[in-house]
Amino acid sequence: MSTTSVAHHDEHQDHPTGIMRWLTTTNHKDIGTMYLTFSLIMFLVGGSMILGIRAELFKPGLQLMNPEFFNQLIGVHALIMIFAALMPAATGFANWMLPLQIGAPDMALPRLNNWGFWILPPSAILLTLPFTLALFGVGDGALATGWTFYPPLSVQGGIGVDFAIFAVHLLGISSVLGSINIIVTIYNMRAPGMTLMKMPMFAWGWLITAFLLIATIPVLAGAVTMLLTDRHFGTHFFDAAGGGDPIMFQHLFWFFGHPEVYILLLPVWGFIPQILQTFSRKPMYGYKAQVYSLWAIGALAVVVWAHHFFTAGMPVPALLYFMYSTMAISLPLAVLFYCWIRTMWKGSMSFETPMLFTVGWIILFGVGGLTGLVLADVAADAQYHNSYFVVAHFHYTLFAGGIMGIMAGVYYWLPKMTGHMYNEKLGKLHFWLTAISFNVTFIPQFFVGLAGMPRRIPDYALQFAEFNMISSIGAFALGLSQLLFVYIIISCVKGGKKASDRVWEGAQGLEWTLPSPPPYHSFTEQPVVK
């Protein structure tokens, strides 16, 4: 494997052009680009849905939509953001960067890779179609159950629920295929000398993510299939009248749903330390401690699911177990935070856009993590549960911790991917607009939640009016700021200052040894890691 460097270099640039290049491609960079583009589009779609919600919630009373439509918006917003925006973004980075980072010519299973991507657009259509049709008066719209599909409400729902179930099946297949590919690539395609414990952190983050996906997606698929048969074939898995139990669905769903949170975050925890070491100009602190922490988090992720429904009724020992095991997640997470900050400590920091996003990410994700710690307490959870406090909490973890992390990654690697520098001034502006408007949106939600405003209500009592108004203003600012993001990316793809190979002064890793952008087939000579 290591001997022949290829002589007929140029032929490797041969590939179909135009639309066929993208439809048939097995190239990891093309597929990565498609994933990232898809993710960005769906991010805007999911985001505009929530702007509808925030417009409705701008003041008390029903102004723009009926409650049924409101419920559809919240459910589809969540499904799109989780399955069609965040997960494909992480997979996009995996496709682009994993082979570059571990010195592989491509992903291990390139055709599978192509298939994995092309399952996504149909499932996105399945998710949004019922909803779009309803806008034109056809059918009764998308699922109105929230993204969690809880029966019996979802058994009652219309055809939109079936659409969503099939969409989730497809998205799940895509994720499992992607995961298999990533595991095989990481285990088999590393450059000589790159032992597992020398692997880039991003590869570790994704490896654990991939295992989590393979372990939990089938459970979700099973749960929604049972739901489908309950809906159409007279089974009673979740119906007490036939000996079933609606709460069993919640167990199955969250056995997937809780690890899903870490599935969204682990890839980010992988590349954040890489960005930190780049802009701190010193090697990351505690590589081993971080790797072990990631594994610990991955393991804990699958044993704490029931904290999502403490109020649904559980025996005391179960409540105690899930409370303490949930709190235990803060231990490895504290080690990670410690390592990140220790990496910055006595570094020589500069604050280009990726670093700004990373530092902002650490602070805001910290808020998400700490509010998660208090949520673990059963007694207090009775108050927080399904209130806006929870909404604010998981947006600090998933928007700040997920999407802002992804944005850091985009700015970090964009020059490598396109060969051009993005506009630094606009990038920084984008960061400040995003960070500020994000806080304006979600800080008030902590307070309305504590004061007693339930989530998923289309209208609210007058005492919540002021905070909701502030939150809506923040949300619109947050949404509009993302147009700047799109503009920055497009103009960077189109042109700009040429990026050097090692784009950032302190950048470390194999991907920076290639030209920017990397040739169509990345490593024609296999690198050796010492």
């Binding site: 049924e68 809880y150 139990d245 059963v378 007694a379 007058l462």
Partner: protein, 388 residues
Amino acid sequence: MQGMKKLGVGAVAWFLSLSAHADYTWNFPEPVTPMALDTLHVHNKFMLITAVIFVVVLAIMIYSIVTHRHSKGYKPVADNPPSTAVEIFWTLIPFAILLLIDFVIMGIPAYHSVVMMEDTRDQSTMVIKITGSQWRWQYEYLDGDAKGIKFVSNLATTNGQMHNEEDKGEHYLLEVDNPLVLPVGEKVRILMTASDVLHNWWVPQFGSSRVAVPGFIRETWVQVEKPGVYRGQCKELCGKGHGYMPVVVNAVSKEEFAQWANKKQDEQKAANDVKEMTKDELVAQGKVVYEKNCAVCHQVTGAGLPPAFPALTGSKIATGAIFGSDGKYQKDSHLDRVLNGKGVMPAWKATLNDTEIAAVITYERNALGNAAAVDAVLQPAQVKAARE
């Protein structure tokens, strides 16, 4: 424009009046049960601990960010590749701190709270059953002074207020026609269930929140220490009326509670007495019952929201015969559907009394654009017979 101006004035007024409703703005509302008090303490303590952690970590970070800057010419001090022992030591410190906080400082009180919350049996003097259904709460007193009292609690806010056609009242969306009445100081055991989908009975000032699961009984308890009116909402997504399912509890002294129970029991007895009524009486009462219970799905005009909620105007069921030639009510007739429900349509036999059912059916057959030729008037006695 006018609206914007009003909003602006509202925002300013809010900033000026922060101190006035401080406890209802920044934290849990004032607790009135032992459980809520405990929850508030746990919450405050946790928040304080996490805030301290956050501030300390943030301070260290900011110090580093300000001091160790490339632009100030700070040279990186690489951690000499730390020995494994050193690395373990340094990562174990945050680990140990968190271990102490999680499992001792926070963990031990949390244990006591859980045990206290789940203890529904000790010293409870009264049992009530709460049933959640789309989209109202049904209350039933199972023992004590109020034994046998059973009523439905519906949102009292008007449609006009929701659609911004009327001015919103002080308790917009948090008001009901029949509040739950509880005696102050008594530990009340609550049995919770649901008739259709999951609901969650929640009063923030009580600190108790339990999912009502159809087909199962869940338990919790409240002991209100202070007389007053307490308001909350359903907080488990339960369909389109989820936001319109308030919980209002009227906590009164034991004497007042006994009086109320007596009065309510008499009223209920009177209502259950079946008497002959005229068509006009039935239609008049039926209109009230309809608008309270049925209009949420079938609309005030009877137009429905097809396909989920069919129209009543001109519907086969609302105009077809109720009784067959043998004098018995037919399957899939208007009466059958109201009594027993089907699919999304709930069964009303447990919720409404004979008179109410007779009235609402008569109303639906003579109003809403319907003028039924057969079985135009249904008498409470016929409903009573149909139940047997």
